[in-house]
C-alpha cells in the first residue's frame, strides 16, 4: 500500500468544530431551540468534515495537521489515517443521530441543566474525534484524558448521591487507567525515542523490544491495561454499569460508542500501530490479552443474565461485546483483526439502537426494569421491533451487523497460528448463545405476554445450577433462594403490583406519557411498569413516542441492518480492510 501524507487542516477542524460550539451553546442557554440548532449544525459540520476525508483515505492518502512540537521529540499531530477515520466517521455519524435523540429525550423528561448537558456532549465529541485522529501516543493521551474530563459532567448529571458516586468511581477508574497509559507512553518513548503511529508498528520499538523484551512487555501491559479500563475489560469494568445512572443518550453514544470505544481504539492503536502485530507476536503478549478478553466476554454475558434493570443488562452486554473486539486484536490473525475492528461500528449501531429503545421506554412509561416490561410491545411497537432487530444482531443472526464481524472473528480464531486459539472460537459461540438467552426473554415478553400473565424465565431468575441443586445443598426451598442481585425470586413484580394497588393516583401519571412532558417533576420517583389495566395499544405509525426519538432509533437500527447486508458498500468494511492491509499482516 502506498501512503501519501498530505498536510491538511481538516483533521484539526473536525476536532475543533464541536469545541468551538461550546461557547455558542452556553451563550444560547435561554433560547433552547437555537441552542439545539447549534448542536445539530455542529454535528452535521463535523460529519461532513470527517466524511469528506473518507474517499481520500480509502485511496491511501493520510491527512495530517501538525501543530508543532509539544514535548521534546513529540509533535502535537492530528492525522486521519484508516484506523482514525473508522472511529472518527463512526463517532461523528452517530453524534448526529444522538443529537436528535437527545432533544427528544431531554425535553421529554424536562431535565435540568440541559445547557450543561449539550455543552459537555459537544466537548465529549470534540475529544472523541481527537482520540480518533491523534497521530502519536502523547496526542492520544491528551485526547483520552480530556475525554474523561468532558464526560464526567454527563455521568454525574443527575446530581443525586448515586450519580455523584458513579462520577467519582468513573473518575477514579479512568484516571488510574490514564496513569497506566501515561506510564506506558513514557516507556515507549524511552525505548523507541518515538511515539508516532506507523502501520505495522514503530520500527525503533521493534528493535528495542528485541534487546529488552521485559520492558517492552511492561510497556504493552501498561498501555493495554490502561486503555482496558475504558474498554471495560474485567476486572476493571465496574465503572460502566454504575455509569448507567447517566441520561440514556449518554449511555448510548458515550458508554456504547465514544468512551468505551476510545479504550478499544487505544488498544487497537497499540497492538497494530505502536508495537505492530509481529512484535506483539514475538513478545507473546497477544495471547494473554485475548485470554482476558475471552474471560470478560463470557463472564459479562453470564452477569447480564441476572440484571433486571434494562440499562444495566445492556451495560454488561457492552462489556461482553467490547471484548469481542479486544479478542480479535489479541488473536491477531488478519481475519480476526478484520472481525474485531468491524465489530467497532457493528456493535455501535446495534447497541445505540438498544439504548435508544431503553431511553424511549423510560421517557414514555418510566419503566426501567425488565420484569415490568411484559407486553410493552403493544404500547411501543416500533421501538420494540427495533429492539428485536438489534438484539438479534447482537446474537449474531445473519443479515445483521453482528453476524459479519463475528463471522470474521470465528474464522480468524480458528485460523490463528497459535495453537489453542480455537478455544476462542468456542468462547465466541457460547457467548452468542448467552446473548440470545438474555435478549430473547425481553423481546418475547414484550410481544407475546401481558403484564398479568407473564411466565417464569427459568434461565434468568432461577438459581444457577438448577432448582434441585440449590434445594439439596442449602436445605431451603427453591422459592426462597436468594437471587444474585439481592432480591428474592418472584417478589419483584408482585410487590410492585401491590404498591400500585395502594396508590391508584400514580397510574394516571404513568399511563399517559404525554402529560409527563409537561410536568416531568415526578419522573424521578416513579416506579414505572404498566398501568393497572395493562398497556394501551399504540399503532405502528409512531404514536408511541415523538419522532425525535423514533427517528434516531430507526436510523440506528437501519444502520445495523445495512452493515449486515452490505458491509463493503456501507464503507466500514472497506476501511477495515485498508487498516489490515497497512499493518502488513498477510491477508
Amino acid at each position: 500500500v502506498t501512503e501519501a501524507v498530505v498536510g491538511d487542516v481538516r483533521p484539526l477542524a473536525a476536532v475543533l468544530v464541536s469545541a468551538l460550539a461550546i461557547p455558542v451553546i452556553l451563550a444560547l442557554h435561554r433560547r433552547q431551540n437555537l441552542r439545539e440548532g447549534a448542536t445539530i449544525v455542529t454535528a452535521l459540520t463535523k460529519l461532513t468534515l470527517v466524511g469528506s476525508m473518507v474517499p481520500g483515505v480509502l485511496d491511501g492518502t493520510v491527512y495530517e495537521t501538525n501543530l508543532g512540537t509539544f514535548v521534546q521529540g513529540i509533535g502535537l499531530t492530528f492525522r486521519a489515517d484508516p484506523l482514525g477515520i473508522l472511529f472518527g466517521l463512526l463517532a461523528s455519524g452517530l453524534w448526529v443521530i444522538t443529537s436528535f435523540y437527545s432533544i427528544g429525550y431531554m425535553r421529554g423528561l424536562d431535565e435540568h441543566d440541559q445547557t450543561r448537558y449539550f455543552a459537555a456532549f459537544a466537548a465529549s465529541l470534540s475529544t472523541a474525534i481527537a482520540v480518533a485522529f491523534a497521530g502519536n501516543l502523547v496526542t492520544l493521551f491528551i485526547a483520552y484524558e480530556l475525554l474523561t474530563v468532558a464526560t464526567y459532567p454527563l455521568v454525574a448529571h443527575d446530581e443525586t448521591g448515586e450519580a455523584r458516586a458513579a462520577g467519582r468511581k468513573y473518575l477514579a477508574y479512568t484516571f488510574v487507567g490514564g496513569v497506566a497509559v501515561l506510564a506506558g507512553t513514557v516507556l515507549v518513548f524511552w525505548l523507541a525515542g518515538d511515539t508516532a503511529f506507523a502501520g505495522g508498528g514503530i520500527d525503533s520499538l521493534a528493535t528495542a523490544a528485541e534487546s529488552d523484551p521485559a520492558l517492552a512487555r511492561l510497556a504493552f501491559a501498561l498501555l493495554a491495561g490502561g486503555f482496558g479500563v475504558k474498554a471495560a475489560l474485567m476486572p476493571v469494568h465496574s465503572w460502566l454499569p454504575d455509569a448507567m445512572v447517566a441520561p440514556t443518550p449518554v449511555s448510548g453514544l458515550l458508554h456504547a460508542v465514544a468512551v468505551v470505544k476510545s479504550g478499544v481504539f487505544g488498544i487497537a492503536r497499540v497492538t497494530l500501530e505502536v508495537f505492530g502485530p509481529e512484535t506483539v507476536q514475538s513478545l507473546g503478549i497477544g495471547l494473554p490479552l485475548a485470554a482476558v478478553a475471552a474471560v470478560t466476554l463470557l463472564t459479562a454475558s453470564v452477569i447480564a443474565l441476572r440484571q433486571d434493570n434494562l440499562k444495566r443488562r445492556l451495560a454488561y452486554s457492552t462489556i461482553s461485546q467490547l471484548s469481542y473486539i479486544v479478542l480479535g486484536l489479541g488473536v491477531l490473525s488478519p481475519a480476526a483483526i478484520t472481525g474485531g475492528l468491524l465489530h467497532i461500528p457493528a456493535h455501535a449501531f446495534m447497541k445505540l439502537t438498544l439504548f435508544f429503545c431503553a431511553g424511549a421506554i423510560h421517557v414514555e412509561t418510566h419503566t426501567d426494569d425488565i420484569s415490568n416490561m411484559a407486553g410493552i410491545g403493544k404500547r411501543m411497537p416500533l421501538t420494540m421491533a427495533a429492539f428485536a432487530v438489534a438484539a438479534a444482531g447482537m446474537a449474531g443472526i445473519p443479515l445483521l451487523a453482528g453476524f459479519v464481524s463475528k463471522w470474521y472473528l470465528l474464522i480468524g480464531s480458528v485460523a490463528a497460528p497459535e495453537t489453542g486459539s480455537a478455544i476462542f472460537a468456542v468462547a465466541l459461540l457460547v457467548s452468542g448463545m448467552l446473548n440470545i438467552a438474555y435478549f430473547w426473554p425481553i423481546v418475547y415478553q414484550a410481544f407475546f405476554e401481558s403484564p398479568g400473565a407473564s411466565g417464569e424465565k427459568p434461565l434468568l431468575s432461577g438459581p444457577f445450577g438448577g432448582l434441585a441443586a440449590a434445594g439439596v445443598f442449602d436445605g431451603v426451598s427453591a422459592d426462597d433462594t436468594v437471587r444474585a442481585d439481592g432480591g428474592t425470586d418472584d417478589d419483584h413484580s408482585a410487590e410492585d403490583h401491590h404498591e400500585r394497588g395502594d396508590h391508584p393516583e400514580e397510574h394516571h401519571e404513568t399511563g399517559d406519557a404525554h402529560e409527563d412532558h409537561h410536568d416531568g417533576d415526578d419522573a424521578h420517583h416513579h416506579h414505572g411498569g404498566p398501568p393497572e389495566d395493562g398497556w394501551d395499544r399504540r399503532d405502528w405509525t409512531g404514536g408511541e413516542s415523538t419522532w425525535f426519538m423514533l427517528g434516531p432509533i430507526l436510523t440506528a437500527a437501519t444502520g445495523a441492518v445495512a452493515l449486515g447486508v452490505a458491509p463493503v458498500t456501507f464503507v466500514f468494511l472497506r476501511i477495515v480492510q485498508e487498516i489490515v492491509a497497512r499493518t502488513g499482516v498477510m491477508v
Partner: protein
C-alpha cells in the same frame, strides 16, 4: 544592554522607598507608585529576556560597581533565571491588580510588597552565594510582614511561626555559605563550582556546606517535614498575600535550590557523592506523598491548597535532584506552571470567599450556581494541577517522569506518575461539590467567626463577607491564570528551546 538586569533589582527597591515617601504627602498614592514600578519591572524583565535571546551563549551578566568576579558581585540572567524573572514581574503586576480591591491597602502594604519583589528578583538574578543569602533574607522579612498584615490574631501567630522557622532556614543557608567560603575562599557561584572541585568533593567542609545550604533552602521551599510554617502562613494571610507568596516565595527558593545543585555543586559533585543526590530525591519523593495525604485531610480550602504546594514542590525538588537534563527541564517548567496555578487558585479562593463567604470544601457545594466564573476557573486550574493534558503541569510531569526513567529510578518514576491520582484525590472533591452537590447554606456554626459575630443576628452572620465586592480586575487575574495554565502547556516547548535548553546543556555536559 546589561543595565536592565541591575535595574530590575533597583527599580522595586527605589519604588519601595518612594511609596513610603509619597505616602507622607498623598494619602492614596501607594498603589499608583507600585503599579508604575510593576509595569516597569515587567518591561525590564521582557527586555532582559530579549537580550538573553539575542546572545549566543544565552547568558548575560552585570558586574556590580564594576568589580571583577570572583571578588565582585555579578548579576546573571541566563536560560534558567530569565523565565523566573519574567514570572516574578508578571505575577507581581497581576497580584497588584487583584489587591487594589481585595486589599490589604495602605502605603505600608505597598512598600513591603515592593520590598518583597526586590528580594525575589535579587535571589533570581544574583550570581553570588552570599548575595543570595541577603536577598533571601529580604524576601523572608518582607513575607513575614505581609503575612502579619492580616487582621486576625491567627495571622500574627502564623507570621511569628514563619519568622522563627524561616530564620532557622536562612541561618542554615548562611552557615553553608560560610563553610563553602572556608573551603574555597570564594563566593561567586561559577567560581565556587570550580574551586569546590579543586578542594575535593569528598572534603568534609564541602559536604557540610552542601548539607547546610540544601537544608536551609528546603526549609524555605517548605518540603515535608520542614513545611510546618507554610500552611498556617498561606491560610491566615490576606488573600492577595496568600496568592502572591504561594506563587512566588517558595518558587524562588526552589529556583535557588536548583542553582545551588546545578550551578554551584554541579553533577560532578553528585557523581562523587551519590548519597547527596539520593537524599535530595528521597526528600522530594516523601514530600510528594506526604503533602498530598495532608491535603486530602484538610477541610479548609486554603489549607488544602497549601499542603498541595508541599506535594508539588516535592516533585520540583525531585526533578532537580535527579540530575538529568530532561528532568531538570521538567522541573523548571513545573516551577513556572505551578506558580501560575497555585497563585490563581488562591486568588480564586479569595474571590469565592468575598462573593459567597465559602471557605471550606463543604461550603463550596453548589458554587457553580452562585459564582459560575469563579467555579469555572477553580475547575480549570484544579484540573491543570492534577495534570490533565495539555496543561503545563502535564508537560512538567512528562519531562520529570521521562528523566526518572532515563536515570533508572523506577520507584521515583512511579511516584511521579501516581502523583496525578494523589492530586486528583483532593481536587475532584472540590469539583464534584461545586458542580454536582446541592448548595448548602454557608454554615453559621462551623467556624469560630460564628462566636465572634454573636452580636449580629444569626441569619446575617456571613453577610458582611458576602457584601464585599469583587472587581473586574480580580476576575481578570484568575481567568488569565486559568488561560495561562493551558497556554503555558502548549507553549512550553518554546520556553524550553528558547531558554532552558542551552543553559541546562551547559550544566549537563
Amino acid at each position: 544592554m546589561t543595565d536592565a538586569i541591575v535595574l530590575a533589582v533597583v527599580v522595586p527597591i527605589v519604588a519601595s522607598v518612594l511609596t513610603l515617601a509619597s505616602g507622607l504627602v498623598f494619602d492614596r498614592s501607594g498603589w499608583y507608585v507600585a503599579a508604575l514600578a510593576c509595569v516597569t519591572e515587567l518591561a525590564l524583565a521582557v527586555w532582559v529576556g530579549l537580550s538573553v535571546l539575542g546572545t549566543d551563549t544565552g547568558r548575560i551578566a552585570y558586574k556590580l560597581a564594576g568589580f571583577d568576579t570572583p571578588e565582585g558581585i555579578e548579576l546573571v540572567a541566563d536560560g534558567l533565571s530569565t523565565p523566573v524573572l519574567v514570572l516574578i514581574a508578571a505575577v507581581s503586576l497581576a497580584v497588584l491588580v487583584y489587591a487594589r480591591r481585595a486589599g490589604p491597602r495602605g502605603n505600608a502594604f505597598y512598600t513591603v510588597y515592593l520590598l518583597l519583589i526586590t528580594g525575589l528578583t535579587g535571589v533570581t538574578l544574583t550570581g553570588d552565594i552570599f548575595n543570595m543569602y541577603v536577598f533571601l533574607e529580604i524576601t523572608g522579612l518582607a513575607a513575614y510582614a505581609l503575612v502579619a498584615s492580616g487582621d486576625s490574631t491567627r495571622a500574627a501567630h502564623a507570621s511569628l511561626k514563619y519568622l522563627i522557622i524561616g530564620t532557622i532556614g536562612a541561618s542554615l543557608f548562611l552557615l553553608g555559605a560560610g563553610y563553602a567560603y572556608v573551603a574555597t575562599g570564594t563566593l561567586n557561584m561559577v567560581d565556587l563550582s570550580e574551586q569546590l572541585a579543586a578542594a575535593g568533593y569528598t572534603s568534609r567542609l564541602v559536604v557540610a556546606a552542601f548539607g547546610l545550604l540544601v537544608t536551609g533552602l528546603l526549609v524555605k521551599v517548605a518540603l515535608f517535614p520542614v513545611h510546618t510554617w507554610q500552611p498556617d502562613a498561606y491560610a491566615n494571610a490576606p488573600d492577595s498575600v496568600s496568592a502572591y507568596i504561594s506563587a512566588l516565595v517558595s518558587t524562588v527558593a526552589a529556583y535557588a535550590l536548583a542553582r545551588v545543585l546545578l550551578t554551584v555543586f554541579t553533577p560532578d559533585f553528585f557523581a562523587a557523592i551519590p548519597l547527596a543526590s539520593d537524599a535530595v530525591v528521597a526528600a522530594g519523593t516523601v514530600s510528594i506523598i506526604a503533602g498530598s495525604v495532608l491535603a486530602v485531610l484538610q477541610s479548609d480550602i486554603k489549607k488544602m491548597l497549601a499542603y498541595s504546594s508541599v506535594s508539588q514542590f516535592g516533585m520540583i525538588v525531585v526533578a532537580f535532584g535527579l540530575l538529568s537534563q530532561t528532568a531538570a527541564v521538567g522541573g523548571a517548567i513545573h516551577l513556572l506552571g505551578h506558580a501560575v496555578l497555585k497563585g490563581g487558585l488562591f486568588a480564586a479562593a479569595g474571590i469565592v470567599l468575598r462573593e459567597t463567604g465559602a471557605r471550606t470544601i463543604d461550603e463550596y457545594a453548589g458554587l457553580a450556581g452562585r459564582a459560575p466564573v469563579a467555579a469555572g476557573t477553580v475547575a480549570v486550574l484544579g484540573l491543570s494541577l492534577v495534570g490533565v493534558p495539555p496543561s503545563v503541569t502535564f508537560v512538567g510531569k512528562w519531562y520529570i517522569a521521562v528523566g526518572a526513567v532515563e536515570q533508572g529510578v523506577w520507584p521515583v518514576a512511579a511516584v511521579i506518575l501516581m502523583s496525578t491520582l494523589l492530586t486528583l484525590a483532593y481536587i475532584a472533591r472540590i469539583i464534584e461539590r461545586m458542580y454536582f452537590a446541592p448548595a448548602t447554606e454557608p454554615s453559621t456554626a462551623t467556624e469560630s467567626e460564628a462566636a465572634v459575630s454573636a452580636d449580629g443576628g444569626d441569619s446575617v452572620v456571613s453577610s458582611p463577607e458576602k457584601t464585599r465586592s469583587v472587581s473586574v480586575g480580580m476576575y481578570a487575574v484568575v481567568v488569565l491564570a486559568a488561560i495561562a495554565a493551558v497556554a503555558l502547556g502548549l507553549l512550553a516547548d518554546i520556553i524550553r528551546t528558547a531558554f532552558l535548553q542551552e543553559t541546562l546543556q551547559g550544566v549537563f555536559l
